[in-house]
């Protein structure tokens, strides 16, 4: 019909209450669509959803497992958010996690007693974390230097470095760091107990680090000069130059901090959850963190919440997969459906759709 039209218009702003209502609506629609899908593949939707909830909140252990999934995701997303605030598209979270895990493993397996004495556990863990941070920062400086100096595209550069880092782990596993006690099977040895993050309330201490970082990163981006500088450089490099900011230095510094945080997440994952180094240490977290970061609108407290919700989705899908023998790909589709609706609702908080008949002359259509 030529007389009907659909248009989009930007919203000035939306009240928090309405926005919350919209998101709840999105969730309901997602569950309904997902339910339809579950029904289509021959399972009872309500049972499956109940199963997901039980899988996440059913026991203290399942809650802990969920937090365990969320912690590294949260730290990585925080790291990416720092770079994204400068409009520096760090897609290299995966690789930076790998590099951090490698550096931490070096001390965990081969240097836990440098200078003759055996280090106390806290010192070893601090050294591992510092090694991850430094290695990550240096790794992150490579694409940043080329970007600041020669204007190369950081998106491609950081993306490619992911594979480099992952294959370095494979090389270490097959070669120098292969565990001789695994009888020819290429594996890296388990960390000694002193190199494993201690448990706090039943979950490895990574979640405490994550929460502390939420506060620190919040303060950094909002209340420090450096946070101000990176926001200005991101929004408008010309104005940054005009204001006398050292633009190149800000790019290098921010990219290094971003990568260092991702690397720390790699150390947390290896030392807290895996207790060894595998090439799956990042396991897609570096990519999922991009979604988490944007879904949270680059705000650190929101990142913590969104990361936890992602943990819930992951854990719930995993549970129904093993309990009800739903195939892994179907569980993946369910996750996708929920994400689709939630992400879609963000669009409607920013735009409104006007569907209407062409207005007759002299009268308002709205």
């Amino acid at each position: 019909m030529r007389n009907y039209s659909i248009r989009m218009a930007q919203r000035e702003s939306m009240s928090p209450l309405r926005a919350a209502g919209l998101r709840v609506l999105a969730l309901v629609l997602a569950l309904m669509t997902g339910g339809l899908f579950i029904r289509l593949i021959g399972f009872p939707p309500l049972t499956i959803y109940a199963g997901m909830l039980r899988g996440v909140f059913g026991t203290a252990i399942s809650v802990r497992e969920t937090i365990k999934l969320a912690a590294p995701l949260c730290v990585t997303a925080l790291g990416l958010a720092v770079a994204f605030r400068m409009r520096y598209w760090n897609i290299g979270g995966e690789g930076q996690m790998c590099v951090g895990a490698i550096a931490a493993t070096y001390f965990a397996l081969y240097h836990q007693n440098l200078f003759g004495a055996v280090w106390p556990r806290w010192l070893l863990l601090v050294v591992m974390a510092l090694a991850a941070i430094i290695a990550g920062a240096l790794w992150g400086l490579i694409p940043a230097w080329f970007n600041a100096r020669h204007g190369t595209n950081e998106t491609l550069f950081t993306l490619m470095l992911n594979y480099v880092a992952m294959y370095i782990i494979q090389y270490l596993r097959e070669g120098p760091w292969k565990n001789p006690r695994d009888m020819g099977y290429p594996k890296i040895a388990m960390f000694p107990i002193d190199a494993q993050l201690p448990k706090v309330l039943g979950v490895h201490a990574g979640w405490i680090i994550a929460l502390a970082l939420v506060v620190i990163v919040s303060l950094y981006i909002r209340y420090t000069k450096q946070g101000f500088e990176l926001a200005v450089v991101g929004a408008n490099p010309n104005t940054a130059r005009y204001a006398g900011m050292p633009v190149r230095r800000v790019i290098l510094r921010t990219a290094a901090i971003s990568a260092a945080l991702c690397a720390l997440a790699g150390m947390i994952k290896a030392s807290g959850a895996d207790r060894t180094l595998t090439d799956g240490v990042a396991g897609g977290i570096g990519f999922t963190a991009i979604t988490v970061s944007w879904l949270a609108n680059l705000s650190p407290p929101a990142i913590a919440v969104v990361a936890f919700l992602f943990g819930v989705l992951e854990k719930g899908a995993g549970y129904v997969q093993s309990t009800y023998r739903i195939s892994a790909s179907a569980a993946g589709v369910l996750q996708g459906v929920i994400l689709f609706f939630v992400l879609g609702s963000e669009f409607f908080t920013r735009y409104r759709i006007i569907i209407g008949r062409e207005s007759a002359y002299g009268e308002h259509s709205a």
Binding site: R11, K225, Q226, F228, A235, T239, Y242, S359, H364
Partner: protein
């Protein structure tokens, strides 16, 4: 108030002045309305355009001129209201619909393919009719250009043409596509006075040929020189349409602004001291082409030195070299100390107080997504001690600035990108003046600003001048340059063609110098 004005400045609406009662208007707008979110850009606007007339559309920024034209040319759809072309109601959905109805728009930024010749541009995208040879096309184009006195070399590449020649090609292109309603958006912004006069001759000839023309402009002298009728918009409303011969610039301004303002610019006398000397300043582009060549001049404190020239004559490079944003060779001596080639930070750290208003305010100078407070912090956040950023001082200064320069809306926490051009400029200028500069470099400081804001800014500049600041004023409106500045330096193609005392200079003289005639 002068006789013949049919509406009062405060009246919402006037009875429109129909010049030809028995003629059908070629274009008639009825209660056109367009809203963006909570903003009503055009509020039930009525207007008519008759064949053989030039209607100027006058209004401050944000008064709805561009939105209105975009509805006529099919870029926006009206929320309500109707457009009649030749008495028939038309639904203009796309720019193609507009073209089909004979509406042609000449944008400020030309839509020409640079490596193509004029003729190729003119016929670009049109279907070739059966049996139509290129010599026939050529004859058609030539006939058109002769009819209106459009002097175009059809085989010349557009990239080799001057701005004014490109504009002529653009007009010819629109005419060849059968436009009889021509809309020009600030057509003289890029022209020298002589070129503008030539354009006006062309437009007058087109009017005689029966074309209907709408011209958008800010410049009152152009309104008075060219138009038959003037339609004035204010805050999205059509406040009045008056006949040119029955009005005055003062009355038009009053309609536009809603209050009486004086159109006189002061030129106060001040005490002078040497401040800035520039010797043989030469600036090249990244690709090595010469942008500013061997510029030498001096500027005293308490003086406003105007810089005139066609857009792109080296003004930008001159300003950016002084502000430390572009490297050049030569000397820039401020109080005898050479600051050439130093970064803005080095210049600042040496205690040189330099204020710079760049021409592209959101492209450089301000961050659109940040609020007034953070934009004020840009200049002096580094002076704070320690790693943390304290906003309380800037918060106070922002409130003060918003209050003193009556920035609207008065919300220091609003992202500045959402402010109108005039208010944006007040934020930028206000920040630079807060740092108490001794040298102020301003580039097109009133570009895109409405009459009222412009005069506020001239007053601010004069206030600085009285306080002993030396100002470099790069401008485009020659009348303003002649009234406001003490001396005027004219640039042409990156060279200084001369520096004249403003009180002895004339528009014609400056116009000639803009084309490279030196004195």
């Amino acid at each position: 108030m002068k006789t013949g004005i049919t509406a009062t400045a405060n009246g919402l609406h006037s009875e429109s002045v129909r010049p030809f009662l028995d003629v059908t208007p070629v274009l008639e707008l009825k209660r056109l309305t367009k809203t963006f979110g909570s903003l009503t850009a055009c509020d039930a606007i009525d207007a008519e355009l008759y064949p053989g007339e030039i209607l100027t559309l006058l209004g401050e920024n944000g008064s709805g001129k561009t939105t209105l034209m975009n509805m006529i040319t099919g870029l926006y759809r009206p929320d309500s209201g109707a457009i009649f072309v030749n008495g028939k109601r038309e639904d203009i959905r796309t720019p193609n619909d507009a073209r089909r109805l004979g509406v042609g728009m000449i944008h400020q930024h030309f839509k020409l393919v640079e490596p193509f010749t004029a003729q190729e541009n003119i016929i670009l995208g049109l279907p070739r009719q059966r049996g139509q040879s290129s010599s026939m096309v050529r004859a058609d184009v030539r006939a058109l250009s002769e009819r209106y006195g459009l002097d175009v070399e059809l085989d010349r590449r557009v990239s080799d043409m001057s701005v004014s020649q490109k504009q002529t090609v653009e007009i010819l292109k629109v005419l060849y596509r059968g436009a009889n309603i021509l809309i020009l958006d600030e057509p003289t912004a890029v022209l020298t006075p002589q070129e503008a006069d030539r354009l006006f001759d062309i437009l007058r000839r087109m009017r005689e040929g029966g074309a209907a023309i709408i011209m958008i402009t800010h410049k009152l002298n152009e309104v008075m020189a060219l138009s038959d009728r003037v339609a004035i918009l204010r805050q999205g409303r059509h406040v009045a349409t008056v006949r040119k011969d029955q009005t005055t610039p003062e009355a038009l301004t009053e309609f536009m602004v809603g209050q009486k303002i004086s159109l006189n610019i002061e030129r106060p006398k001040t005490a002078r001291k040497p401040l800035l000397t520039v010797n043989n300043l030469t600036v090249r582009d990244a690709d090595g082409s010469l942008r500013l060549s061997d510029a030498s001049f001096s500027l005293e404190s308490g003086e406003i030195l105007g810089v005139a020239g066609v857009a792109g004559s080296g003004q930008k490079q001159l300003c950016e070299a002084i502000a430390g944003l572009t490297a050049g060779s030569g000397e820039i001596l401020l109080h005898g100390r050479n600051i050439a080639g130093q970064s803005p930070r080095r210049i600042y750290d040496q205690g040189v107080r330099l204020g710079f208003i760049p021409e592209d305010r959101l492209g450089m100078g301000l961050v659109g997504s940040m609020n007034v407070v953070d934009n004020l912090l840009l200049r002096d956040y580094r002076l704070q001690r320690g790693p943390f950023l304290r906003r309380s001082g800037a918060m106070k200064r922002a409130a003060d600035l918003v209050d003193r320069l009556s920035i609207i809306p008065p919300e220091p926490l609003r992202p500045v990108g959402r402010l109108s051009g005039g208010n944006l400029q007040k934020v930028l200028l206000g920040r630079e003046l807060m740092s108490k500069p001794e040298l102020l470099v301003t580039s097109y400081v009133v570009r895109g600003l409405d009459v009222h804001s412009s005069y506020v800014i001239y007053d601010l500049l004069n206030e600085q001048k009285r306080a002993g600041v030396g100002a470099l004023f790069v401008g485009e409106d020659l009348d303003v340059l002649l009234e406001l500045c003490d001396r005027i330096m004219v640039l042409c193609g990156g060279r200084v063609s001369g520096i004249v005392e403003a009180k002895d200079a004339t528009r014609e003289m400056i116009g000639l110098m803009m084309t490279g005639v030196s004195r």
